[in-house]
């Protein structure tokens, strides 16, 4: 018996070493992924600031960013291109974290604000405000945010049956998404052509025409929301184990889910109010990040970085890479990337229907 105890103690000692080895391996992988994503983001940022009708070399770019550029360089980089870059960066991160939260809390890769009609709700509310109530820019953005939160709350209440199942939330969300699309279609067919053209910005997300005031609003929103998300990430890790285990481990499952979903809806609302529904960024970022890490963690920071990279790349492609020099809103390109991913996810979903 004593020998057994001693052997167990030795084994446990080896275990501590094995555990810290596991942990540092996980950390190294996470660091590598973040560095690679950061490099990609930096590259795309430099490309977005340099490329265009008036291209600017790296040396000139650095000089201009340091405030030593010529008048025309200052105008092109600091006034035209930098706000667009910064807005894409913030919105991409907000959408990605929102999507990763929805997917993590509901334990379903289809649960993202764009699939569930949360961003659609924002579009519908914005277009309604603009076309029917005659709102101006700020009021339209505010109604977009209100629309996102309203739709998220409606789905939550409809899906509530004395408890919450992720699959029910997703099914009801998909239904709600169709309803808001129908409502949007109705609004647009009733509107006159010029107004409808204007309303298009709320149907397809775009970071063009970014103004520093928009950027400040998004940045302020993120500055408030992201620290709260970060503080609650531990609860998300427990919710991944299901309600029973989360409760057993001392996490108030229902309340934590409500709070995290609320934060996710607010993030989607802030981002949509600023750039419109940037299709599929929220949907693809989390799963890509989780796949890169492959360790079953929520991976919120890598998700945010993937979101930024996808948004910057989509916007760059939309501006510069299309044949015939046509320029499109970034949301069309991100949608073109996201839709095949959705099909792939559905095709490879395992038998439980939960997917990767």
């Amino acid at each position: 018996m004593n020998d057994d105890t001693a052997a167990a103690a030795v084994a446990a000692g080896m275990g501590v070493e094995a555990l810290s080895a596991d942990r540092s391996r996980r950390r190294r992988r996470s660091r590598r992924v973040c560095l690679a994503l950061g490099g990609g983001i930096l590259l795309m940022a430099v490309l977005s600031l340099s490329a265009g009708a008036y291209s600017i070399g790296p040396a000139d770019l650095v000089r201009t960013l340091l405030g030593l550029g010529s008048g025309s360089e200052n105008f092109i980089v600091l006034t035209l291109r930098l706000p667009r870059l910064v807005l894409a960066l913030l919105a991409g991160a907000a959408f990605a974290v929102s999507g990763a939260l929805f997917q993590g809390v509901l334990r379903n890769p289809l649960a993202s604000p764009d699939i569930l009609g949360v961003t659609g709700g924002a579009s519908a509310a914005a277009v309604y405000g603009m076309l029917v109530l005659g709102f101006g820019g700020l009021a339209t953005s505010l109604s977009a945010a209100a629309g996102a939160i309203l739709v998220a709350a409606a789905i939550y209440l409809l899906a509530w049956r004395g408890g919450m199942a992720g699959s029910r939330f997703v099914l009801i969300g998909v239904g709600v998404a169709f309803m808001v699309q129908g409502f949007l279609g109705y609004l647009l067919t009733r509107a006159d052509l010029r107004d409808a053209q204007y309303a298009l910005t709320w149907l397809v997300g775009s970071v063009s025409g970014a103004r520093w005031s928009d950027i400040l609003t998004v940045a302020a929103g993120l500055a408030v929301l992201l620290p709260v998300v970060w503080a609650l990430a531990g609860r998300l890790r427990m919710l991944q184990l299901g309600d029973d285990l989360a409760t057993t481990l001392g996490v108030a499952a229902e309340r934590s889910r409500l709070v995290l979903l609320g934060l996710a809806a607010l993030l989607a609302a802030v981002a949509t109010a600023a750039v419109g529904p940037l299709a599929f960024v929220a949907f693809v970022s989390g799963p890509i990040a989780r796949r890169l890490l492959g360790d079953g963690r929520p991976a919120l920071l890598p998700s945010a970085m993937v979101g930024v990279l996808v948004t910057l790349t989509a916007d760059f492609a939309a501006q510069h890479l299309l044949p015939g020099g046509i320029q499109l809103p970034a949301g069309i390109v991100s949608g073109a990337i996201g839709a095949p991913y959705l099909l792939w996810l559905l095709a490879t979903a395992d038998t439980s229907g939960k997917g990767a």
Partner: protein, 275 residues
């Protein structure tokens, strides 16, 4: 290992009724888990075994009555504090795809960590002891989904052990395991109980294993306790017939001396009772 408390924790149900929506599953039930002993709950399908366990683990709010932890209403206590005393392994636990064994078992430490979940040396020691006790140390870097059923169940139990509670509830910890792995898991729990004095309550389907491992056997029928006590006193042909609608002969288990239930069924009773 933190020293075990001088006074063992107690968990008891008083006039407990539990149900879902308006369907009542557990009806006005009184039960006190003997501290430091192994209690096994048996009963036919839908007799309320899992529901009772969920009620004892604070997963289901009573419709009436209370569950008392050390004399205090379980629902009046902060969840995180309860989680340091009472642990539960559900019948079908879920984990995110790709999670490693060490990460999963480590999450069992959550109730002992502060707001930001800072990992400490104690956490490492407890997790590593839990892995060693369940013989899963070599698996610690593997992914849960790559393991066999028996290995996976041992890892889940390691997580429950890492939570380091004085009271451990398990809902059918042996389902989906072959008979050798069933015994392995039950031996492991027995060892934990005798070694650390952990109070264990679990639901089991196999009456013979229940009789062998239980210090205290609880037989449920339709949400009420039909009989409880030492398995030798409780498991009679009459109780088995009453609880399961099954005719059986009870003999002594030649290995453990505990009752051994030999079910009769409709076709095989070729050896009429000699009495």
């Amino acid at each position: 290992m933190p020293p075990s408390p001088p006074v063992p924790h107690t968990l008891a149900a008083v006039g407990l009724s539990l149900g879902y929506d308006s369907r009542r599953i557990i009806d006005d039930l009184d039960l006190e888990l003997p501290s430091g002993r192994i209690t096994v709950i048996v009963g036919a399908n839908a007799s309320g075994k899992s529901t009772l366990l969920r009620g004892l683990a604070r997963l289901l709010r009573p419709e009436s009555g209370v569950v008392l932890l050390d004399g205090d209403d379980l629902f009046g206590l902060p969840g995180k504090r309860v989680a340091t005393v009472v642990g539960l392994l559900p019948q079908h636990p879920v984990a995110p795809a790709g999670i490693s064994v060490s990460d999963l078992v480590g999450r069992g430490r959550h109730p002992h960590q502060g707001w930001f979940g800072r990992w400490s040396g104690t956490d490492d020691a407890v997790v590593s002891a839990a892995l060693a006790a369940t013989d899963t140390l070599e698996l610690s870097a593997r992914r849960l989904e790559d393991l066999s059923g028996g290995q996976r169940q041992r890892v889940w139990i390691a997580m429950a052990l890492a939570q380091d509670t004085d009271i451990l509830l398990l809902d059918e910890p042996t389902t989906f395991l072959d008979v050798a792995h069933q015994l392995e898991v039950l031996d492991l729990l027995h060892e934990r109980n005798r070694g650390e004095g952990t109070t264990i309550a679990m639901v089991l389907h196999d009456l013979n294993l229940a009789a062998r491992y239980a210090d205290h056997l609880v037989v449920l029928r339709e949400g009420r306790i039909l009989a409880q006590g030492d398995p030798r006193d409780v498991l009679t042909a009459a109780v088995v017939l009453d609880a399961f609608g099954l005719s059986a002969r009870i003999i002594d288990d030649p290995v453990s001396g505990t009752p051994l239930i030999v079910p009769i069924g409709r076709f095989h009773d070729n050896h009429p009772r000699i009495s």
